[in-house]
């Protein structure tokens, strides 16, 4: 698009075609809206990162290494996001915490996935 066409696209007869709330922007609204948009994107990015640590088997969800000292800032945040609360380490409980979300219309004892997979915790 040439500069002339671009100018014609946004201005016609010297009158801005931008919506009113955009044409009345000032530096404060730019900063506030940028911060809000950045915050939302940061939250979404955090959810994506946390989800990357999830292990899913047969519809059951877990995450390895939660609560372990030295497990790293990222994994710690992911665990706190997906498994809120001070859950114990697998070798202490001799089990791995598995979660499964059921819709109200489904039955928990569906025969196929009624128990989570058995795994050696070490």
């Amino acid at each position: 698009m040439t500069n002339a066409n671009h100018a014609r696209r946004w201005h016609r007869g010297g009158v801005s075609r931008l919506p009113a709330f955009l044409s009345r922007r000032n530096i404060v609204s730019d900063i506030v809206q940028g911060a809000l948009a950045g915050g939302v994107l940061a939250f979404i990015t955090f959810q994506v990162i946390a989800h990357a640590y999830v292990t899913k088997v047969n519809g059951w969800t877990t995450m390895f290494g939660c609560g372990e000292p030295g497990n790293g800032t990222l994994l710690r945040a992911a665990c706190a996001n997906k498994f809120p609360g001070p859950i114990n380490v697998p070798k202490e409980g001799k089990f791995i915490l598995w979660l499964r979300v059921y819709l109200p219309s489904t039955t928990i004892l569906d025969g196929k996935y009624k128990v989570p997979p058995v795994m050696q915790t070490g």
Binding site: A37, G39, A42, G67, C79, G85, G93
Partner: protein, 139 residues
Amino acid sequence: MRHKHFITFGSVMVVAWVAGTFLFIYFWPHLVINHFKRAIVDQGFGDGPVPINTLYTEPQALFADPLNTSLPPASSKLMSVGVNHDTLLTVGWLDLSKGPQVLHVPDFTGRYYSVQFTDPFDVDFAYVGTRTTGTKADD
């Protein structure tokens, strides 16, 4: 400067995006544990707030039927929703800034138990219990 506003908006957004992501990653565990701190220290589990450096064991009724036991309105639901039905819970918030505390455990006569110490960033840094220290009485 037709794009001045978009440059300002975009710059602030990128900075907030990057900084916010780091803040979420670093402080999210702390926020979650702080929720538990408020539940223990401010709300309690039916008998009022649990003082700092005090251990509180859930009442028998709550242990027997955590989902259907009615608690006072100001109480926390953390002991009644999403907990194991076969685990008797004892909780407490320790503040060791004014000095150490001594934990005494009775003789569990071989029964399984586990005392988990979790720091404010959701790391289980120590355990006392059957696996680590045995079931004899000790301090």
